[in-house]
């Protein structure tokens, strides 16, 4: 998506929020006191699993703060070729969100804008798990041990932890009606392209020079997709 288009969309949301605030400002004293309702939501998605606390500001505007986290690790051995390569990887993600939800129709469809403060990191390591012999069976046969072959480490992080967000969704946790509600959010964080750092040791160390090719590919991913689905419980009427 083009940056110009992004900021145009963001400006539109801010415009809507401004209208909402003005409009609701005229009716605030008649219809609803700010922070008169609260809800707790538990959800999960591309930002991890966690919880939100939502409160109303006006009839059309809520504020939401949340915390989510996720981690995953994997390791194994790739032995389809020689030498077998032992690998391990870990993804760790945690974020705090400060969001404003605007309900143009008081409930249901919402437009969301705000900011995530996210720590996101992927670490990976690959190294031969066995010796490698070249020219096996010949007089110039030579064996290289795993230490001599070396190891490759990779790290993917985002350059900025503060990521503006906007999106759409369904569900107003603090609206009248059932206290238990289904909520869904879909949007984008502007994360900037992830940065890849590779380092190596041993004979295979120059392999990390290919990091620039991977970085070129990662430069396409400046936006972090957000999808959350969960349930909320209104705790104060």
């Amino acid at each position: 998506m083009h940056v110009r288009r992004v900021f145009s969309v963001g400006a539109f949301f801010i415009f809507l929020l401004s209208i909402s605030l003005y409009d609701n400002g005229l009716h605030a004293q008649i219809t609803q006191k700010p922070a008169s309702r609260f809800a707790i939501g538990f959800n999960g998605g591309t930002v991890g699993a966690g919880a939100d606390i939502t409160t109303n500001i006006t009839k059309k505007l809520n504020l939401r703060i949340g915390y989510h986290a996720f981690s995953y690790s994997d390791s194994g051995t790739y032995d389809d070729d020689e030498p077998a390569i032992g690998y391990s990887g870990e993804l760790s993600q945690s974020n705090i969100s400060f969001l404003a939800d605007f309900y143009p129709m008081n409930r249901g469809l919402k437009f969301t804008a705000g900011v995530y403060i996210q720590n996101f990191e992927i670490t990976a390591n690959a190294s031969p798990s066995e010796s490698y012999t070249i020219f096996e069976g010949q007089s110039n046969e030579k064996e290289f041990g795993p230490e001599r072959l070396g190891t490759i480490d990779a790290l993917v992080t985002y350059p900025n932890s503060v990521m503006p967000y906007f999106g759409i969704g369904f569900g107003n946790p603090v609206a009248k009606g059932s206290a238990l509600k289904l909520n869904m959010s879909l949007g984008l964080m502007y994360s900037g392209a992830p940065e890849l750092t590779m380092s190596g040791s041993g004979l295979i160390a120059p392999t990390v020079n290919q990091a620039i090719d991977f970085q070129e590919g990662l430069n396409e991913f400046e936006w972090f997709p957000v999808f959350k689905l969960g349930l909320s419980l209104r705790v104060k009427k």
Partner: protein, 538 residues
């Protein structure tokens, strides 16, 4: 309504995912490969191992054992020995050594191959590049001119070990191919009744076999084939080698004679504890007269101890009754049975000579060899070098030859009279040019690549189609493509090549041996070079 909500959600999610351009990332993943980074080796060299007679590469495996010098392979690992299969030995030395003309780096190696005499030779590196050498091995069945290798039964012993007749061994046949007027022949005569024993005191019994080697030091090939240790010792002593032979006597059990004991026929009825035998040398009378008071004879035992040395006095010299141009020198050797016999002429001085090279338009390295009977001085003019100051010249006239395999110039010079010699090369034929050859390296499997940052110790040789001599290309450069992560080409410079002619190029490394025919179309030539060895492509 809920269905609509969720449908819109799914649609938008799909749009989000597919809108990202993943092509660059996919390409990076597809092109990813392991790249091997070998440590650069600053100084490398190569040795062509040739048959001394035919001057082509030795066809059998040659086992090379390094006796002196630290040698590393292309992976910078120390090497003690290698097996050379294609006739070319490549090597490197650790980067903490930087050879120069004034501080050369010497490498001594022993070469053994089936059907060839073992040989220990030394090469001296005088720079980080242009360290290519030729070493020759003597074939037992086809030695070069000036060398004879023989094996024959020469007699036998009684049951108690006394030789039943005189044991006569001549190390050179007559006529000898390549013989010159200054050749020295040698023979021994062990009198009947002698007892030969080995190093453990065991007596040789039964049929006796003599294995002999003869080196005619008056010929370049004969002199070059002389074991290096003898040449080196003689050069250090300012001695010219006039004749060299080796004799090994064995019985059928494999016992090697190292001592000669006396027999009844030597001392009448008493069996003596020691024995003697005669050594006879046939030397050009002119040589004897020239070196009359400086001739020394050495008898060297099997453990390389100089057991016996004697200055040749006038009494030991007589005229050959069959040939007035030849003289006979008789020496008696006792106790130990020598395996090497050396006749040398001592020079009182070692002369330093300066050779200046007028290239006259010729470029590249040129080899120099100055030779006279019993003495040789070799060196190299590097590409950027036009003067050499060399020591080790003896009295007498040398034939000084400078060559790059294509252009050759020979001049005589007596360095005692003329310590500074200028050699002017003939201008190169206009058809000869220098060219830069770029070889674009591709693997047979085009989906694989040469994933090395470089291939240290690699050498490139070339020769004109229809010729035998290989020359080494200069200034080898490897080009590594960072985007591809692979070696994509190598370039070399070749000198004095004929435009329009076909040349065979040979890329040799520790583990690579690839050949290709290329036509020299002009000063810049680019060709695809397919690597068929799948082990190095990935």
């Amino acid at each position: 309504m809920n269905f609509v909500k969720y449908s819109i959600t799914l649609l938008l999610l799909t749009m989000l995912v597919v809108s990202c351009d993943t092509q660059a990332l996919e390409d990076a993943i597809d092109d990813f490969g392991i790249i091997i980074g070998l440590e650069p080796i600053n100084t490398s060299g190569s040795v062509q191992i040739l048959d001394a007679a035919t001057e082509v590469f030795v066809q059998t495996d040659v086992q090379v054992t390094y006796e002196q010098g630290e040698i590393i392979d292309m992976f910078s690992d120390p090497v003690q020995s290698v097996t050379v299969k294609n006739g070319v030995l490549v090597f490197g030395i650790p980067n903490n050594y930087t050879p120069t003309e004034s501080n050369p780096y010497e490498i001594t190696m022993t070469l053994t191959a089936e059907g060839y005499l073992p040989s220990t030779q030394t090469v001296a590196l005088t720079g980080t590049d242009e360290n290519d050498f030729s070493l020759s091995l003597v074939s037992i069945t086809n030695p070069p001119a000036g060398v004879e290798v023989q094996e024959e039964e020469v007699g036998g012993t009684s049951d108690t070990g006394e030789t039943t007749s005189d044991i006569k061994v001549d190390t050179s046949s007559d006529p000898n191919e390549g013989e010159t007027e200054e050749s020295t022949k040698l023979g021994i005569n062990i009198p009947a009744g002698s007892v030969l024993t080995d190093e453990n005191g065991n007596t040789l019994t039964g049929a006796l076999t003599a294995s002999t080697e003869y080196y005619d030091s008056s010929t370049e090939q004969g002199y070059d084939a002389i074991p290096e240790e003898i040449k080196k010792t003689s050069a250090e002593s300012n001695e010219a080698i006039l004749g060299l032979s080796s004799i090994l006597i064995t019985d059928r059990s494999g016992r090697k004679a190292v001592r000669v004991g006396g027999g009844a026929t030597k001392n009448g009825s008493t069996l003596a504890q020691t024995g003697c035998y005669d050594v006879q040398m046939n030397v050009a009378a002119d040589v004897v007269n020239r070196f009359r008071r400086s001739l020394i004879f050495y008898a060297i035992t099997s453990n390389n101890n100089v057991d016996f040395s004697i200055a040749i006095l006038d009494e030991a010299v007589s005229q050959d009754p069959n040939n007035p141009t030849r003289s006979i020198i008789n020496v008696e050797v006792c106790d130990n049975f020598a395996t090497t016999y050396l006749l040398s002429a001592v020079n009182s001085v070692s002369i330093v000579g300066t050779i200046n090279l007028e290239r006259n338009g010729n470029s590249g390295a040129f080899d120099l060899e100055a030779f006279k009977t019993g003495s040789s001085v070799k060196a190299r003019f590097r590409s950027n070098q036009n003067r050499l100051d060399l020591s080790g010249f003896l009295r007498g006239e040398y034939n000084v030859k400078v060559t790059n395999g294509i252009i050759t110039k020979e001049v005589p010079n007596n360095f005692e009279d003329n310590t500074s010699l200028t050699i002017t090369l003939d201008s190169p034929p206009p058809t000869l040019i220098d060219a830069q050859i770029t070889l674009n390296l591709v693997c047979s499997d085009r989906t694989t690549y040469l994933r090395y940052t470089s291939v240290p110790t690699t050498q490139v040789y070339f020769r004109k189609i229809g010729t035998n001599s290989w020359r080494r290309a200069q200034s080898l450069q490897f080009n590594f493509d960072d985007d591809l992560g692979a070696l994509t080409s190598a370039s070399v410079t070749v000198t004095s090549v004929e435009q329009g002619a076909e040349y065979e190029f040979w890329v040799v490394s520790q583990d690579i041996s690839e050949k290709k025919i290329i036509t020299i179309t002009g000063p810049v030539v680019e060709e695809e070079y397919e690597i068929t060895d799948g082990d190095i492509c990935s």
